[in-house]
Amino acid sequence: MPDAPVLAILTLSGSFASVWEDAAREAGASLRAVAPDDEPDGAVALLVAAGGEEQRGLDLIPALADRWAAPLFLVGATASHRFAVEALRRGAADYFALPEDADLLRRTLTARVEAARTRAGRAVPDPGDPFAELAGESSSLRETLQRAQRILRHGDVTVLLGGETGTGKELLARALHNGGARRAGAFVAVNCAAIPGQLLESELFGHEKGAFTDAHRAKRGLFEEAHGGTLFLDEIGHLPLALQGKLLRALDERRVRPVGATQDRAVDVRIVAATHVDLQTAVARGEFREDLFYRLNVVHLVLPPLRERGNDVVLLAERFAAQLAVRYAVPAPRITAAARTALLAHRWPGNVRELRHAIERALLLSPSGVLEPDELMPATRSPAAPVSAAGGLPFPASLDDVLFHAARAAVDLNDGNKSAAARLLGISRARLQRLLERRGGADAGAD
């Protein structure tokens, strides 16, 4: 029988010890006091920083979250939403303000210990490189993936993924799941735009028998199905306003109530959400709740569009050509220089997905062993736009677009070295960073 999971406690100050002592007893976990320099291998780590030590607790989080394998919970006495978000951004798995959150903390610890015990009983395959499917060498993609890699250490942090259609948001969400501590749990994906609004509540939270006309049986919702794993909410911007409040409650309290039920059910789910629209604009228009936006936007990762990934388009085209040649048992084709130029010039509104289809079409319909521009581009003809060195600046473009593309091109030209890029443009590094972030390319400090 495996050893009882360990609840590691680092106490800076404060009391309330009965809360985690009760939780440990209920969950059958052993308690272990640790120091900042220790490296506990427990199921859950608790950093207790009540009684005026909250700031010190916050400051300690990044280093501890990087070194400690267990998800780290911060406990304080400051009941502030902003403080909680800051703790999550620095790498805490969650923040609890005592005494208000005592019950929630007890439930969460119990659920985590149980989940750790379940995971310990399962053989979890080595995920290898979880990001292997997101191939590319452009600095814009590498930056995003490097930040994603760092997030893996932060365990349960909520992530909001941005990027145009076809850039690989679901692949990235899967990579975050498969490379993280929850990989033994389920990855449940749901596209909020693909489900009629009136059904989405029952789909997410489940329903009781007789809750509505067609509810002949009770049904578990996706939150419960994802218990111990990850729930990927794609196209979160399409979530109806009425449901946004329920989602926020589920995230805050880690409990869901199925439609027609009178009691809540505890869930232990990590959320990764994705959108191709600008949620801040949706917030400004009153279409998306601000509090939910901040709750989801703990770490914001943006996948760059293919047209801004420079030579990646050629690299990917070669990779797809080789893969698809194996699939269809034809010789791997050669991509001519003219075809490469055409690939670089195209705007790829459908991004990587569109490129893959273009290669597949060419391979199936013209299996000559050579891919020329006419074979690659016939069905992807989009209005020919002037193309910049950065890979396709639309015309007319906004000033923001021009500045962003100039900044991105300079970074690409300098192999990702931002200081050199800033010198090239004759601006400060900080100004360059602001230009890059203006298009939503950064979080607020998870790394």
């Binding site: 749990g185 990855f187 994906a189 009629p196 794993g229 079409r361 319909l365």
Partner: protein
Amino acid sequence: MPALTDPLRDARAAVRAGRFQDAAVTLAELPAEVREGAEWYLLSAMVSWRLGDFAPSRREALEARALYRERGDTDGEMRAVNVAAAGAFGLGALRDAEEEFHRALQLARELRDDLMVARCSNNLGNVALYLAEHDAALGFYRIARAEFERLGFDHGVAETGINAAITWRDLGRHREALRAADEALEHAERGRAPRLIGEALANRGAALAALGEAAVGRVLVERGLALVRAEQDRLAEPDVLRILGTLALAAGDGEAALRLSREALALAEALRHPWTTAEVQRDLARTCRALGREPEAQAAFAAAAAAFLTLGSVRRAQAMAAERAAS
């Protein structure tokens, strides 16, 4: 002490290798005392189902269920209920199938048998699809897919993806259908399952053709057809032929569409599979109408409506009746 051997070992090996006919012969040749056991009934039910013999499959599965219950083997009971439900499904008794799949799902959750949870969810999705309850079907496929994926069961992910693609196509949501078929194809390849690769290719082809990529779509469906034929997949072949027929019709080749639909119908009727028959009759009816063969179209629409009604799929039967009347 002599080693204990499983009397069903050779039959199981044949099933694992996909040699269902061999498995049936091996099972029939086993001694009478083995053929009275729950395990024999269950394995035989699975083999019969794979061979398209749904009525014997259901009888054997119900026998296995009774024997497992008798000895208090909940795990065996769960597996037998699942196969019995699949038999009901094959016979077109959708409400029985739904009831029994739900029972199997409940047992699977109690036993924490995640693979069976996935299988039952996938099967419940199929029942919902047949009943034209698309949202419910997609919900079940979502759960099944997540469970199969967590367990690293590529065949299951592929199968669920194919089912989701069919559902999206039925809704006219071809982009979603394409994505589902894309994922199905990747997992089918990873799982080295030619039968599933064939079906995934056919569904990708159908989606691409609907999105305006007719030539690529046709090539993919033809490749899919070649694969399911090579695999002697009796269930998939008429379905892929039917898809190819709809593509031919869309491309303006009415005669080819008619020929393919009739070929599909002959296979579906030989299989006595009501769902496939209903779908083939529906597409044949549309083809006949497009070619100005109205009497044949009327007959095919009526046959499709009757087949859907046999399945308990009232919505689909009503839709056929409405389409028939809209001449």
